[in-house]
Symmetry: D2
Subunit: 257 residues, 4 copies
Amino acid sequence: MTARKGKRLKSDMGSSTADRIVVRGHDLVEDLIGKVSLGDMAFLELKGRLPTHQESTVFNALAVTLVEHGMTPSAIAARLTYFGAPESLQGAVAAGLLGIGDRFGGSVEEAARTLQEALAGTGAEVDVTELARKIVATHKESKRPIAGLGHPIHRPIDPRTPKLFALASENGFSGRYVQLMKAISVEAERSHGRVLPVNATGAIGAIASELDIPWKVTRGLAVIARAIGLVAHIQEELEEPLAAEIWSRIDEESSAR
Amino acid sequence: MTARKGKRLKSDMGSSTADRIVVRGHDLVEDLIGKVSLGDMAFLELKGRLPTHQESTVFNALAVTLVEHGMTPSAIAARLTYFGAPESLQGAVAAGLLGIGDRFGGSVEEAARTLQEALAGTGAEVDVTELARKIVATHKESKRPIAGLGHPIHRPIDPRTPKLFALASENGFSGRYVQLMKAISVEAERSHGRVLPVNATGAIGAIASELDIPWKVTRGLAVIARAIGLVAHIQEELEEPLAAEIWSRIDEESSAR
Amino acid sequence: MTARKGKRLKSDMGSSTADRIVVRGHDLVEDLIGKVSLGDMAFLELKGRLPTHQESTVFNALAVTLVEHGMTPSAIAARLTYFGAPESLQGAVAAGLLGIGDRFGGSVEEAARTLQEALAGTGAEVDVTELARKIVATHKESKRPIAGLGHPIHRPIDPRTPKLFALASENGFSGRYVQLMKAISVEAERSHGRVLPVNATGAIGAIASELDIPWKVTRGLAVIARAIGLVAHIQEELEEPLAAEIWSRIDEESSAR
Amino acid sequence: MTARKGKRLKSDMGSSTADRIVVRGHDLVEDLIGKVSLGDMAFLELKGRLPTHQESTVFNALAVTLVEHGMTPSAIAARLTYFGAPESLQGAVAAGLLGIGDRFGGSVEEAARTLQEALAGTGAEVDVTELARKIVATHKESKRPIAGLGHPIHRPIDPRTPKLFALASENGFSGRYVQLMKAISVEAERSHGRVLPVNATGAIGAIASELDIPWKVTRGLAVIARAIGLVAHIQEELEEPLAAEIWSRIDEESSAR
């Protein structure tokens, strides 16, 4: 660690001296605490600057959408973990977050990836209908589902989608990514002959792309939002424990002969 | 899981039907998305109701304070984990959160616990100076440090503390918990004969108690805030990777003979 | 990381050159692979030397005891996590391990701690009956349960205990820690007036102490063993998935109005 | 959870009654504790039966190979996590395991997958040279590296590979998977014109396939083995702490202006 000539370790996230704390170039005490909301702080952390009013509205809307989904596998895992390790609330939240993978948070990421890769290097003149056609065809050929379309429960439409798209539009973030996402839905419905509307993860993937968030980071929006939800589930578990009951039912049924 | 007469599994966190999603009694689409910020959503999740303007200011201030602390052990662990498992951003964040334990998030919790246990069952007439004296004496006797006092870097005072206490006061949250925390500092300085000002975790523990957040949940504030910081660190790691350099320096030095 | 005069980073765990890998002072290829079993390798890792035949028998017995307990909260959490993040088997195992805390692995640790703290600094002449009396009295006074006694299912005795104690005795590891653990059980039964036999975690805590494993590390025995069990649960989940069914039952019941 | 007619929750991993614990069909107390080593117990967990002597030798050799690699990113992450959360040894191990992803454990998995997919549905008469040619060509075409070949440090050969292949051969597990792995190396060296010997992860992937372990589970071998190594690193950290020094060096260098 000493003699070797290596790369300098450098980070722009934050630093401290005796009387000052700087976060992303802003004085934490003077400029952020009491002036900036948690959602705007998240924007600052990710983008390196505070959001405009429009950006704030849209970014907070995306995050708010992802906070709570009731008793998901992730919430149940967090509660069961807390039951075994009540000394470690952070461990229970971590266990819950570990389930925000390819099946859940991954769909936001996959939608954003599809859009960002398709539009990389293109300009304002791009033909989104044509792009949508190619994307649907490629997925059909390789028998892969298109991320961001359809929903097992919210049918025929996901109620979050029109709300998110309306907010994006009102605030100037209904650009090429949103248009392409919508075009993919239209084209997929035509090609597959069934209703395949844009779901919440598709809308979030598209709008996060409008906000210039790299697709590899979009899964992080779900992680941030779900951390909130999981702390709240653990609080409910503290007051009204369910884990022991869940365990004994499953144990009893699964070991019955 | 079927035949057994057990406790009913019941949760008030959220539920969905085909066209409606309810979070903590609020219609997600109609009442929350686009109307409520992420910090206020966190308040709703934890308290079961939306915050007043004053509560919002204070609650967001607490959370904002905890988001970013530069290259902490937790941020380094997240980056090293992402290096080994780039397929799982959630795993890297989870690894980072696992370090928000007794040494870090724990100090907020410990401060809140001390205050909440001391004031449990007391009324407005309680003598906080007297309580502070007892708390300091008990800790001194058992040689335990008092959570929420002093700081290795921020000396003589932690710049976040006066800001947080001022915000609490301006918004009507400078009650008995804040007074007791301050009194503990005064008494500890007198008893130990050295400067022991309230640090940020002490201020947060006291103000979270004013907001009626149970001490067992206060560590969750750090977890929520740090999840944001960790996603941002991983984004920086994606752009400017440090993990390989950290690894090779440590590996080289530690295995040198 | 360069200029500062700090502590040298030094580790004795392992090191590599182009043609040689050394683990705990042993040549991995020449001396360990194909010659040493996984359990003995774990002993080497923890103790810095390979076990005798007797130590190997006893150490492997402890670990084997902790591998599998059916559908525990930890196994269920791992399966639910894998459902959400099938790209990350390590994440599912990690989620499961996070539940090996104070309630489960913690009881081995607590038992070992009680024994090691009680016998610290004592010699062969120590009166274990007298020590046991003090331990039982202290716990009774502070209303804390004694770790390692009694079991909700395995009544009147835990079938693992006599087996483990017999193995310890046959192999020369039935010393003061085991005697004290047994004396605590006798004294607790006398004092509380009910059957309180040493359970498996009490036996493991005592025998691990005979093997000179520090109590802070004993929880690690459960972690090591359970990692095996959790990988096997995930393999079963791959072949016969249960997570979706568990989720939908809990979700349905918990959100019913 | 009650009224719904769903799939029966069923597991064959283990079950308990008051006086008996069954693991994978074996009586834990009568047949396993004291009779079976930890490695063989892992085999039983994964395969549903105890290993033959030959299987035991080979399986334990694979696992032993993966236990310890010195100060890896995963070991450093575990130590940093333990520094922040000393109350949760399981959290520190979990943090370390979370780094056993695509870059590390993933290479065993990827090697096993390549071999198992290539040989699926083929018989004894399969032409491994021809298959190897196809595999190398396909990877070259899509510019993907072939898992299990080459090593940054262990050059020109990985010393673990000949040892593992020799053990496999002596014990009757040098079948088509091992032959194909070797043929891929020969063909890759020919095609790329440089030395590309089978590394340890390639050998482990091939031999695990000989043992009929599904490729999706092979990453679990690394997870099981590394859990042991991580507990040992945390024990060393307890005795000789490095985390604070690592933190302060990185923090100092990264926040210097």
